[in-house]
C-alpha cells in the first residue's frame, strides 16, 4: 500500500473513531431530570428469540394503556413509544435489551442498559438464569429497580431476594401447582420419572411438580437432566425407566427441544401414550404445538399463571379488549410472555404515580404490593406480593385437547387459588434453591391440596378435581 493512501485513510479513521466516541457517551455526562429512564430486557437470540416483540409489546401496551404513551409502530413494538407520563415524569425507554437466555449476555446487556444508558428501572428479563444473574446484579445496584418480566427461576425472589427486585407473577414451580394432583387423581399415576434441562428454570419447574405430586403420595423414581444446549437426547432417554416400569413421565425439556426429546423416546420405547405423559408449559408452546402436541392430545400440563385459552370473567374480557388494541396481530394477550410484561409495566406506572415520579428507594416503597391482573380470581381478584416481593398468584393447569379446527389446543383444566412460592414450607429462603436433587420427594400437605377446582368452558366451577 502506498504511503499516500495512509495520508487519506488515517485522518478518516481518526475522524470516524473520534466522532463515534464523542457521541457514544464515553465522556462522563450528567443525568437528565424530569423523566424516568426505563429499560426493557428480553431475548432476541436463542430459544426465546420470539419473545423480543411479544415481551416488548406487553410492556409498551401497558404503558400505552395506563401512562398515555402511543406505539410508534403497531406492527413492530420494538420501534418504541412516544409520550407517556407517570407520577408527573415522562417515561423514556432507554433501550430494549437483547439477551440469548445466557447469564453472561444478560448481565452485559443489563450493564449497558442500566449503567451506560442510565436506566433507572428495568422490566425484564425473560428467562430463569437471566433472572438469577440480574437479581445478583440488582443486589449490587440497590438504587436501581428491577421488575422481572417473565422469568421462572425461584432464586431471584427466594434465596437472593434483593429489596429492589419485584415479581408480579409466579415462578416455574408455582406455574405447575396442581398438576401433580391432577395426574395422581385423574390418571392414577403413583410413580413417575422426569426429564428436564439442567438449569434453573427446569429445576424450579420440576420442583413444583415434585412437591405437588409427592405431596399427595406420588413417587418420583428417576430424575434425568440433559444439557440445555439440546442435541442428541437418545442417551438421556435411555436413562429413563421403560413405560412398563413407571406410571408416567414429566417432561421439562426447554424451548422447542421437547419435540426432539419425544422423538428419541419413541425411537427407544415405541409410540407415546398420551395418558402417560405430562410436563410443564413447554409441552405445548414454543414450536411444540405442531410437533409434540398432536401426539399428546389428552395430556395434562402446567400453566403459566394465565388462563391461556381464556377465562370468562368480566375482568379477563376487559383485559383482552384493552391489551389487544395496541399491537393487534403481533401478540396473543393471553400468552404469559405478553401478560407478565404487561403486569410488570402496569405495576411500574402505579408505583411511579404513588412516588410522584421518584425512583430508587422511594419507588421501591411505592411499588404496589397488590395488583388486580386479569386472571387473578382469588381474594376478590387481588394478587398479593409476599414479604420477598414475590407474587402469590392463582394458577391454571392445562390439558391438551383437540380444538374445533382439529388442531391441538391448550384448554384450562383446573384452577388453583393463591399459590405461594413456599409450597407449604417445601421451599424457603434458608433452604436450597431447586436443583437436580432438591426438593426430595416427600408426602406433605400443600395449602391447595384437594382444592384444585375444575374449569369448564372458561368457567371456574365449584367442583374439585377427583
Amino acid at each position: 500500500m502506498k504511503v499516500g493512501r495512509w495520508r487519506l485513510l488515517l485522518p478518516l479513521a481518526l475522524l470516524v473513531v473520534g466522532g463515534t466516541v464523542a457521541t457514544s457517551g464515553a465522556l462522563a455526562t450528567p443525568a437528565q431530570s424530569g423523566e424516568v429512564k426505563v429499560a426493557i430486557m428480553t431475548d432476541c437470540k436463542g430459544a426465546f428469540a420470539f419473545g423480543y416483540e411479544v415481551d416488548t409489546a406487553g410492556a409498551l401496551a401497558a404503558l400505552s394503556q395506563y401512562a398515555g404513551a402511543k406505539p410508534k409502530n403497531k406492527k413492530k413494538p420494538s420501534a418504541g413509544i412516544t409520550g407517556g407520563t407517570a407520577g408527573g415524569k415522562s417515561i423514556n425507554i432507554v433501550g430494549i435489551g437483547c439477551g440469548d437466555e445466557t447469564p453472561a449476555l444478560a448481565l452485559k446487556e443489563t450493564r449497558r442498559l442500566m449503567n451506560q444508558l442510565g436506566g433507572e428501572v428495568m422490566i425484564g428479563p425473560l428467562s430463569g438464569d437471566e433472572a438469577v444473574t440480574i437479581a445478583n446484579w440488582a443486589k449490587a445496584n440497590p438504587q436501581k429497580t428491577v421488575i422481572i418480566g417473565t422469568a421462572g427461576s425461584q432464586d431471584p425472589t427466594m434465596q437472593i431476594a434483593p429489596k429492589n427486585l419485584f415479581r408480579y407473577h409466579g415462578d416455574g414451580a408455582q406455574w405447575n401447582a396442581g398438576l401433580g394432583e391432577i395426574v395422581y387423581k385423574k390418571l392414577g399415576w403413583r410413580t413417575a420419572a422426569l426429564i428436564g434441562d439442567d438449569y434453573s428454570f427446569p429445576w424450579t419447574s420440576a420442583a413444583g411438580i415434585i412437591a405437588d405430586f409427592c405431596g399427595i403420595g406420588g413417587r418420583i423414581t428417576k430424575r434425568v437432566w440433559t444439557p440445555p444446549a439440546g442435541g442428541d437426547y437418545a442417551p438421556f432417554i435411555r436413562q429413563l425407566p421403560a413405560p412398563d416400569k413407571v406410571d408416567g413421565y414429566f417432561w421439562l425439556v426447554g424451548g422447542a427441544n421437547t419435540g426432539a426429546a419425544l422423538t428419541a423416546f419413541e425411537q427407544a420405547y415405541g409410540s407415546v401414550k398420551a395418558s402417560q405423559h405430562s410436563g410443564n408449559l413447554f409441552l405445548f408452546f414454543l414450536g411444540n404445538f405442531a410437533t409434540v402436541a398432536p401426539k399428546l392430545i389428552g395430556s395434562y400440563m402446567g400453566g403459566f399463571g394465565t388462563a391461556q385459552t381464556g377465562l370468562k370473567t368480566k375482568k379477563a374480557n376487559t383485559y383482552v379488549k384493552q391489551a389487544g388494541k395496541w399491537y393487534p396481530g403481533v401478540a396473543d394477550v393471553n400468552d404469559g410472555f405478553f401478560y407478565n410484561y404487561w403486569n410488570a409495566a402496569w405495576a411500574l406506572v402505579q408505583g411511579l404515580n404513588k412516588s410522584n415520579g421518584a425512583v430508587g428507594a422511594a419507588l421501591h416503597r411505592a411499588l404496589p404490593r397488590t395488583l388486580k391482573p386479569a386472571f387473578q380470581v382469588a381474594n376478590g381478584g387481588t394478587l398479593r406480593l409476599d414479604s420477598r416481593r414475590q407474587a402469590i398468584q392463582d394458577q391454571y393447569p392445562l390439558q391438551i385437547v383437540e380444538g374445533t379446527d382439529g388442531k391441538p389446543a391448550a384448554l384450562v383444566a383446573g384452577y388453583v387459588p393463591n399459590v405461594d412460592q413456599t409450597f407449604g414450607g417445601t421451599f424457603g429462603p434458608n433452604k436450597s434453591a431447586p436443583g437436580r436433587n432438591f426438593p426430595p420427594c416427600v408426602k406433605r400437605k400443600l395449602p391447595w391440596q384437594g382444592k384444585v377446582q375444575v374449569v369448564k368452558n372458561g368457567v371456574i366451577t365449584k367442583q374439585f378435581i377427583k
Binding site: 500500500m1 463515534t20 457514544s24 457517551g25 449497558r112 451506560q116 429462603p429
Partner: protein, 360 residues
C-alpha cells in the same frame, strides 16, 4: 536520526500518552466506560496477551486460553462464595479465605495448563489448534455438566469476596480498574522480559526451526510445555480479574463464542506484537458496544445481523489489508516509509528477514 529510531521514539511517545490516559481514565471517562469498556479491555487484553505470547514467540496458536481463564475464574468462584441468607445459590460455596483461594486458583490453572501443554507439546499447526480447542470444550462441558460447581446457572457474588490487598472492588470499580491496569502492565513487562531471556530466545528458535533446535540438543517438548504453563499463568490472571469484574461466572464465559472472540481480539490487535492484545480488545469491545447501541436488534437493512456481522467484516478487511492486525498496520506504515528510501530488493524481504539481516 534513522527511521527505526524515529519509529521507536514514536512508539515510546504513544506508549507514554496511552499510559497517562490510562492512569487519568477515571477522571476522563464515565463510570460505564471505565467499568465496562476499559476495564474489560484490560482484562480481555491480558487473556489475548497469553494467546499472542504463545503465538508470537512460541509459534503456538492456542484456543485453550479462554478455557484456562474460565478454569481460574470458576476455581476462585467456587472457593470464595458462601452459603448465607440472601447469598449465593450455585456452586460449591466453600467460603474459603479469598487470599488462599486466589493462590490456589492460579496454581490450579497453571498446573492444568502444564498438563494441557505437555499433551499438546508435540503437535503443530492445525493439530495444535484443534487440540487446544478441545481443552476449552472439555472445560466448558465440565463446568456446565457438573452442577455441583455451578452447572449452566451463574456462580455469583465472586466480587464480594476478595483478599485484603484487593479491597472492596464490588463497590469501588475504579479500584478494580487500577488493579486491572497494574496487572496488564505487569503482564506486558513480564512477557517483554521473558522473550529476552535465554528461555525466550530458545522459544523463538523453536518457533522458527523446531527440528534444528532439537538437533542442537534443546528439549522442544519441554520448552513448549513450559511456555504453555506461562501462558496459563497469564490466562489465570485474566480469569481471576474477569471473575472479579463480571461478578458471576457461567459456562458461556468459556464457550465457543468466547473462544472465538479472544482469537478475534488477538488477530485484530495483531498476533505478532504483544501490544496488539490490548489494542485488539479495546477495538473489539468498543465496536461491540457501539453496534449494540446503534443498530436495531433485528439487524441491518439487506445484510441483517448485528455485531457478529460487523466484526466479521472488520476481521475480513483487516486480514486482507493487514494479516498482522492493527499493530501490523502500524508496522506496515513504517515499512512503506522505509521502502521509499531503500533499494527495490529490500521489498522482496519479509520483515523477519530484514530484522535478521540487520542483526547479523
Amino acid at each position: 536520526m534513522t527511521l527505526d529510531a524515529t519509529k521507536t521514539g514514536a512508539e515510546r511517545a504513544i506508549g507514554v500518552v496511552a499510559l497517562v490516559l490510562a492512569v487519568l481514565a477515571p477522571l476522563l471517562f464515565s463510570d460505564f466506560w471505565l467499568n465496562s469498556i476499559l476495564t474489560q479491555a484490560l482484562i480481555l487484553g491480558i487473556g489475548a496477551a497469553s494467546l499472542i505470547f504463545l503465538s508470537a514467540y512460541g509459534g503456538m496458536i492456542s484456543l485453550a486460553q479462554t478455557g484456562l481463564m474460565g478454569i481460574a475464574g470458576y476455581a476462585l468462584a467456587n472457593m470464595v462464595t458462601q452459603r448465607v441468607p440472601g447469598g449465593e445459590t450455585k456452586g460449591l460455596l466453600l467460603g474459603w479465605d479469598p487470599m488462599l483461594a486466589l493462590v490456589l486458583a492460579i496454581l490450579l490453572t497453571v498446573g492444568i495448563g502444564l498438563v494441557f501443554g505437555a499433551v499438546a507439546s508435540r503437535s503443530f499447526g492445525i493439530y495444535f489448534l484443534m487440540l487446544t480447542l478441545t481443552y476449552t470444550v472439555i472445560a466448558f462441558l465440565f463446568v456446565g455438566s457438573v452442577t455441583l460447581i455451578g452447572g449452566f446457572s451463574p456462580v455469583a457474588g465472586v466480587d464480594r469476596y476478595t483478599p485484603g490487598f484487593i479491597g472492596d472492588i464490588a463497590n469501588d470499580r475504579t479500584r478494580l480498574y487500577y488493579i486491572a491496569l497494574i496487572t496488564a502492565g505487569f503482564v506486558y513487562l513480564l512477557i517483554r522480559y521473558l522473550i529476552r531471556t535465554p528461555f525466550g530466545i530458545s522459544m523463538q528458535g523453536i518457533r522458527d526451526e523446531p527440528v534444528r533446535m532439537a538437533s542442537l540438543g534443546y528439549n522442544v517438548a519441554l520448552h513448549r510445555t513450559l511456555a504453555f504453563g506461562i501462558g496459563a499463568f497469564v490466562a489465570a490472571l485474566g480469569g481471576v480479574l474477569y471473575a472479579w469484574w463480571f461478578g458471576q461466572l457461567s459456562p458461556t464465559t468459556m464457550g465457543l463464542d468466547a473462544t472465538i472472540q479472544l482469537l478475534i481480539i488477538a488477530v485484530v490487535g495483531g498476533l505478532r506484537r504483544i501490544e496488539g492484545a490490548w489494542l485488539g480488545a479495546l477495538a473489539f469491545i468498543w465496536i461491540n458496544n457501539e453496534v449494540t447501541n446503534r443498530i436495531p436488534s433485528d439487524g441491518l437493512p439487506v445484510i441483517g445481523g448485528t455485531f457478529n456481522t460487523i466484526i466479521g467484516f472488520v476481521f475480513l478487511a483487516l486480514v486482507i489489508v493487514s494479516p498482522d492486525g492493527l499493530m501490523g498496520l502500524w508496522d506496515r506504515m513504517w515499512d512503506a516509509a522505509r521502502r521509499r528510501g531503500r533499494p527495490p530488493q529490500v521489498d522482496m524481504e519479509t520483515p523477519e528477514e530484514t530484522a535478521m539481516a540487520s542483526s547479523s
